[in-house]
Amino acid sequence: MLLVFAGLLIHATLHLPARGDPDAPMHRERNRAGGLVAGDYFVRNAYRDAATPNMVTVVLADYRSVDTLGEVIVVFTAGVSCFLILRRRRRYD
């Protein structure tokens, strides 16, 4: 089983575009339907918009910040769930 899935994954990996290939779909300015590719905008404008050299940070905390808020809420919910389920409340009187 494991070998079959490993073989499938390796087979799929061999058909990925080469790294840095300018003709790869994610590096084009327009996708096949003719719309603008979001990643192209991020690469061009990340520093201009937020004065931050690390464009991954800009995407995570600015362009996609609502998604990051969801991630924080997931972690926070995990903490609150552990608090509610596991913590033994001890009351003394």
Binding site: N54, V56, V72, A78, G79, C82, I85
Partner: protein
């Protein structure tokens, strides 16, 4: 690993490593604008420092840094810093999390976004750190005298069924 270690080597190594880990965590949060990193990674490192101390010296160690009771409230504050930053931008007429609309005198729009990202990363780091510490503390909520719990042995009223 709920009981404090008896080995001097482990205790000294934990005391020596924890501040370095946490210093690196703060660096990862603050330097996330220039290098790989950010709130999640830095928060995990800060939590790792606290958890390392609690593993080596017992669960009552490092309570002054972040106490078991304060963990969940501080996590809420961290998440609220994040969400509140978004609400501030709403108040100035922009989209949610659109930091650039906040008028800060003397600072241009890209730098406002820069500081907005920094504030948000700080909130993420606070929330992630305290949430991880809270999960760790809850999972080994095993009050006993050898863990240094002075309240151990007292009756747990709400565990008794009426």
């Amino acid at each position: 690993m709920t009981s404090p270690s008896q080995s001097v080597i482990i205790i000294v190594a934990g005391r020596a490593l924890a501040p370095l880990i946490q210093l690196f965590g703060i660096y990862v949060i603050i330097h996330g604008h220039y290098s790989p990193g950010g709130g999640f990674q830095g928060g995990a490192l800060l939590a790792a420092g606290v958890i390392l101390l609690r593993m080596t010296e017992g669960r009552c160690a490092a309570q002054s840094e972040i106490s078991t009771e304060a963990a969940i409230p501080v996590a809420s504050i961290g998440a609220l810093i994040f969400a509140g930053t978004g609400l501030v931008t709403l108040a100035f007429g922009g989209h949610y999390m659109d930091y650039g609309v906040v008028p800060v005198p003397g600072i241009e729009e890209p730098m406002v976004r820069y500081y907005g990202i920094l504030l948000v990363e700080f909130g993420i780091g606070l929330a992630v750190m305290t949430a991880l510490v809270a999960i760790f503390d809850d999972m080994l909520d095993d009050p006993s005298p050898e863990n240094g719990d002075v309240d151990a042995g007292k009756p747990a009223e709400d565990l008794k069924r009426p």
